[in-house]
Amino acid sequence: MLLEVEAINTFRGPAHILRGVTLGVDDGEVVSLVGRNGAGRTTIIESITGLLPVRSGHIRFRGEDITKLPPHKRAKRGIGYAPENSGIFPELTVAENLMISRWLSDKTARGAAGGVDAEAQALTVFPEVAKFLERPGLNLSGGQKKMVSIARAMALAPSLMILDEAFEGLAPVVVRRFRDAVMMIKGLGISLLLAESNLTSAAAIADRLYVIDRGEIIFQGTPKEALANESVMRTLRG
């Protein structure tokens, strides 16, 4: 297993958000984490990326316990992250945004193995990005920001990409473009963990699904099983 999250409990201030969450992502797998707003999806991602401390439980990446590692060390181990708000540095150009990741790409496991031009791969997945390399991050549209955010995370040569709400706020035609991109990333041998609120979107591309509600995993299985599960559908519809 590439990523193993084992019985983690995470708090935001005094609030107990995640309650014994366990999940995993295998090599070359696309896994979706589905839940309504406030269910705990972003908290799981922030726990995995090290942005929120985990009170108990373990997170392992390639068998190594990374529970106590700071975010920059997790990134160097090969966890790429494209957040919901894209997190583009507004005053840097797109090329400069990519450059920051590229600089460190030889330190990640995939990058250090050699033979991977991570940035070229990123621009293969999103060739559109090459057209606005000189534009400041501030002047990008929402879809362009998401593209750059994913390309920037890819430029780090990660083994696992975590995409938080990658399809949210996009026009249907653009959503299809992003789904294709996710499949291309998978084709490069990179595993993906997608946090989604829309089960239909998630089911279209995921190999496996986890459904989270009120900080607990209430379902795991294939997309087909999830769509056929009345209890899951009822929970997600609210």
């Binding site: 990326t49 090290g50 942005l51 700071p70 975010p71 920059h72 997790r74 990134a75 160097k76 992250y81 957040p83 997190g87 540095f89 507004p90 005053e91 840097l92 150009t93 090329a95 400069e96 945004n97 990519l98 450059m99 920051i100 990741s101 590229r102 600089w103 460190l104 330190k107 990640t108 031009d117 940035e119 070229a120 621009l123 060739p127 090459a130 390399l133 000189e134 920037r152 995370a153 780090l156």
Partner: protein, 337 residues
Amino acid sequence: MTVAAVSRVQYRPKLLLFAAAAVVLMLLALLPPYIGLYQTQLLTYGLIAAIAALGFNLLLGYTGLLSFGHSAFFGVGAYSVAFLLRDAGIHSMELYILIGLPIAAVISALFGYICVRHTRIFFGILTLALSQVLWTLAYKFFWVTGGSDGLRVARPTLLAGMLTFTGGGSFQRFINAYYYYVLGVFAICVVIMWVIVHSPFGKALQAIRDNETRAAFLGLRISRFRWVSFLISGTFTGLAGILWVPLNGLTTPEVMYWPFSGEIVFMTLLGGFRNFTGPIVGGVLFTYLKTYAVATTEYWQLLLGVVLVLLVMLLPTGIVGAISAVAGKLRPREKSS
């Protein structure tokens, strides 16, 4: 598109900018015969202030950390020269720089190690407190530092002893030669700082400034980057102190006192801290502003205070920032006409 292609986009030479810089440098080199000795001396002070502000702005403008303790590094540079002259009998300006710079770098590294773990007001207060520790040492240990009398510094030799300044007319010759010496160092500092802020390291600093959390998840070790930025920033300011003291002929604890840190902040705000040239313009302008304010009224601090208030209220991006904004607004009109 490959890494090389993206790099080409990134490092495409900005010919217009380099040409403008070359013209400014040439004009500065041609000035002394036309402006007289006093103005040459004043401009030399201005260029030294510009080096200090340039270094300071790596921390404020590019890393997002406001230091109120940069007078300490300026003072370390100045006192290093004074000690080298008094205790080691060194008279060479090049040796002052070669020995003084590592001393300023070590003190900056030490202060930075303590301060960069904190941000915002905590960072500012720590830098202020540490700089005042050095000021107290300089003020109280009079048998070492000369106390409030300070230490005198004679005119050094320049260019490995090729230029010496003794005998009749030595002051005039020194001021003229030293102007070109400082101008040369200033040009080197500008080039080095330009390379730093446009390198991946400089971009990483800007990323940290804009979103520390996001930068951490791109693999950047935030405290390490801030520390290196602090070190470079302090060393540049230390260099300014090294260059300043032979011109001033005396160093006193006043250069380590907190109002001088405030002056470095003022210079940077005056020119504008969100652009590269702002602190350079601010350093030179502030030198003139202060000199003429002091000569005009005994309430010169009040005058400078009013200027600072007006600056913050009317030109929050500084003089260069305001000019850039106006130029930016005019550009589309030019195309359409």
